[in-house]
């Protein structure tokens, strides 16, 4: 019962701060809302008794959001205070298409998948050993491919951000 109440509190809070990420007018506020949202998801993992994933959530996204702020500062032209900037330009319909498409795909996949171990009132405690076995033995190749993809994305972002200096 208590878990359920907490679940609802966190669910509403996560949706609220996520809306804050999208609608706030400055990059800094968005980033802070994003961190709060990540902390909320971490709390959700705690409710599911997967402490390891909860800590990973904080470890990865605490640093990631900081990098995100830095890249946002590098990629956008704005003042030190993170002044509001009007969103327009010819890429607007494409941005809408990309965002809407990703949303449709994610929702479609999440709804159509039958999740294993989907039991009511039964939090599944997952140990680190199980996670590492899955990650490094059963799904070793996807893990390596995903890390290569992330590396490419990182290098690409740096190249894009550095090009502005050359103008």
């Amino acid at each position: 019962m208590a878990t359920e109440v907490l679940w609802w509190i966190f669910a509403v809070a996560i949706v609220g701060v996520s809306a804050g990420v999208v609608f706030s007018r400055s990059v800094i506020h968005s980033a802070i809302f994003l961190i709060l949202s990540m902390v909320g998801v971490g709390a959700m993992y705690l409710l599911l008794m997967v402490e390891f994933l909860a800590i990973v959530q904080l470890l990865i996204y605490g640093g990631a959001v900081t990098v995100l702020i830095l890249l946002a500062l590098m990629l956008t032209r704005m003042g030190a205070g993170g002044a509001a900037q009007k969103v327009d330009g010819p890429q607007m319909p494409f941005a809408l298409l990309a965002g809407g498409g990703i949303l449709a795909i994610l929702v479609g996949v999440a709804v159509s998948t039958s999740w294993p171990g989907d039991v009511d009132d039964q939090p599944t405690g997952i140990s680190i050993e199980l996670i590492s076995e899955k990650l490094f033995q059963d799904f070793g190749a996807p893990f390596v491919i995903a890390s290569a993809l992330l590396l490419v994305a990182l290098v690409g972002a740096i190249i894009l951000a550095r090009q502005e200096d050359a103008d």
Binding site: I28, G62, T66, G81
Partner: protein
């Protein structure tokens, strides 16, 4: 909720879990505040001795009450907020810096089963919570509306994120040997020899990365007074500034105890648990104070690095060395090699690291490096 949190704590006082937690947190806060005050006093005294000065002598016997006087003065100061500052970001930044430091202190074992709470994933939790400290620093720098604060925050972000990687990898090398992430268990395993003997290279990397994460000299680029007038907290005054100081020194203390537990055996080495918790507490505190003394020693001796030296040292020296350490550990542990082999390989690595540092330190300055070329060939446009 209590059944979810119960595995985290072992009840000592024999009372309700939440009341027990509150009592321990209150004790922790009190001890932390006093320790921080005397760390500031100790830093001023020790650095003064290094520089052939006396340090604080007037307030109380031998200046012992100096920090209390300073704290009173800070509380009485006006809490200023610049007009260009982003109000909420600016005002919450000190708390966002302090909270991660505080929650790391609440999982450290000061003696056997003595701490606020003991987590099975304690080491991992420690790393992730300390990683969140950067968020507060960024908030302070970006919310102040001041270009020096912004510069300090961006430098801090670059430095802390870079040095987090060797820090975590060096700890991973120890975790490979210990086979647990529980800090209490880890200290328990070091009754015969501490892990610093098995892993001197990992210890050196950890100590260097720790100095960088704490913004201590020679890695104090984000808070350099002489370059950017103090860095990200330049606009703060009074109680908020003192919160930054509190979290900085509390982080120093927490990191020292963490390092003492992981590498020096914490409360266990060298006497074991036979002498009771008072001795264990003294042992942990003594080791952490030794850590802090070395930090102050380094601060008083080594000049500040340049940002490019800092970055290339992290990515070209520390990161490969820590990966080599993990690889060597992996081979030795998988093939069941003896422990002296771990000591041997790690000592060789440590010798190489020290040799690299010495070579760089005694090298003659030249204009052949990146920054030298930049200085001589490119024209810096006038502002």
């Amino acid at each position: 909720m209590s059944e979810v949190l119960n595995p985290f704590g072992s009840e000592i006082f024999g009372i309700w879990n939440w009341l027990d937690a509150i009592i321990r947190v209150v004790i922790m806060v009190t001890v932390m505040t006093v320790v921080v005050m005397y760390l500031i006093y100790g830093e001023r005294k020790i650095v003064a001795r290094f520089q052939q000065r006396l340090g604080p002598t007037r307030t109380g016997p031998a200046g012992l009450l100096q920090s209390f006087a300073d704290a009173l003065k800070l509380v009485g100061k006006e809490d200023l907020r610049p007009k260009r500052a982003d109000r909420w970001v600016f005002e919450f930044a000190p708390f966002a810096t302090f909270v991660p430091v505080f929650i790391t202190l609440s999982i450290l074992p000061f003696a056997q089963d003595w701490g606020v709470r003991n987590l099975p994933l304690g080491l991992f939790f420690m790393i992730s919570a300390l990683g969140l400290e950067i968020v507060g620093v960024m908030m302070a720098g970006l919310g102040s509306g001041n270009k020096f604060a912004l510069l300090g925050a961006v430098r801090a972000a670059a430095q802390m994120i870079s040095y987090e990687i060797p820090l975590v990898l060096s700890l991973l090398a120890v975790v490979m040997i210990a086979g647990t992430l529980d800090l209490n268990q880890m200290a328990l395993q070091q009754d015969r020899y501490p892990y610093v003997i098995l892993q001197p290279l990992a210890f050196l990397i950890f100590f260097t990365a720790m100095l960088s994460e704490l913004h201590r000299a020679p890695f104090d680029i984000p808070v350099a007074e002489s370059e950017i007038v103090g860095g990200y907290f330049v606009e703060y005054s009074g109680i908020r500034w003192s919160m930054f100081m509190l979290s900085e020194y509390a982080a120093m203390w927490g990191f020292s105890i963490f390092g003492a537990v992981v590498f020096l055996g914490g409360w266990q080495f060298p006497m074991g648990e036979d002498w009771g918790w008072g001795w264990q507490l003294a042992l942990t505190m003594g080791k952490s104070l030794a850590f802090i003394f070395v930090m102050l020693w380094v601060r008083a001796t080594v000049p500040r690095l340049r940002i490019d030296q800092l970055m290339s040292f992290c990515w070209k020296v520390l990161l490969p060395m820590s990966l080599v350490q993990i690889l060597a550990n992996g081979f030795i542990l998988v093939y069941g090699g003896p422990y002296w082999l771990l000591t041997l390989t790690s000592s060789l690595g440590a010798a190489v690291l020290v040799a690299i540092i010495m070579r760089q330190a005694f090298r003659r300055s030249s204009t052949k490096t990146l920054v030298g070329a930049y200085r001589t060939q490119l024209q810096v446009p006038a502002p």
